[in-house]
């Protein structure tokens, strides 16, 4: 599935999005993060502290314990700082 990154997650991972093969049994964003940190040391570092991560499923804010399906658009980013 396609996973999108914004702000310092994007710049530190050096990519705005990537295709991720979601392992069987992974159904929540926390489960997805458990998988992402295995992809590279860079991923492990960026996703190490989940308290500073925010997420959206299909462009709606979602808690990390939210469930998703492989056709959803998932995004991770830091707390927003607009306005």
């Amino acid at each position: 599935m396609r996973v999108r990154y914004f702000a310092w997650l994007r710049s530190r991972l050096n990519r705005a999005e990537e295709d991720v093969a979601v392992p069987a049994g992974v159904t929540t964003l926390n489960g997805l993060l458990d998988h992402l940190i295995t992809l590279s040391p860079g991923h492990a570092a960026v996703f190490a502290d989940r308290t500073i991560l925010r997420a959206a499923i299909n462009q709606v804010f979602a808690d990390l314990d939210s469930a998703f399906t492989p056709t959803d658009e998932v995004a991770f980013f830091p707390p927003v700082t607009g306005g």
Binding site: F6, A56, V80
Partner: protein
């Protein structure tokens, strides 16, 4: 009850005065109009000189979130009209970033709705600020006080 609910998420600059003039003309029956303009300050969060900033956003989600906020504000305060403009991309120091205008028969509703919209824009719209100073670019951290401000409206 609501006349016009409008929101724009755009790269182009805008003029707060021209926006307020247009908004005022399009709000017949209003007794009170409040506007808020947020601008790029000439210094960063640590007080160092700032030349510009870049606002990253989440295309699609941003527009939906911002529009939902204007509808929420119009619903909570029975506004005659409401407008939100938020820029993204690169902005020079002094440039307007965000503009909120609210029109209501009475002043309390207009003030509260504008205040609410700014608190929600700060905490619920997917924008991220990258400040450019003499020492390079730095992502701005979210402020706990913004979360506390937004929590007033639950």
């Amino acid at each position: 009850m609501s006349g016009s609910i409008a929101s724009r998420v755009q790269a182009e600059p805008f003029e707060p005065g021209a926006e307020l003039a247009r908004f005022t003309k399009a709000a017949p029956g209003a007794g009170a109009i409040v506007s808020f303009t947020g601008l790029v300050r000439g210094e960063d969060h640590a007080g160092r000189a700032l030349t510009a900033m870049t606002l990253e956003h989440y295309p699609g989600m941003t527009e939906a979130q911002v529009h939902a906020m204007t509808e929420e504000a119009a619903r909570r305060w029975s506004l005659l009209s409401v407008l939100v403009i938020h820029r993204f991309g690169r902005l020079e120091a002094g440039a307007p970033i965000v503009f909120v205008a609210t029109a209501s028969p009475h002043r309390r509703a207009a003030f509260e709705a504008a205040d609410f919209l700014m608190d929600w824009l700060k905490t619920k719209a997917p924008f991220w600020k990258l400040e450019e100073g003499a020492e390079g670019a730095e992502w701005v951290a979210a402020k706990a006080e913004d979360d506390q401000a937004a929590a007033r409206w639950r």
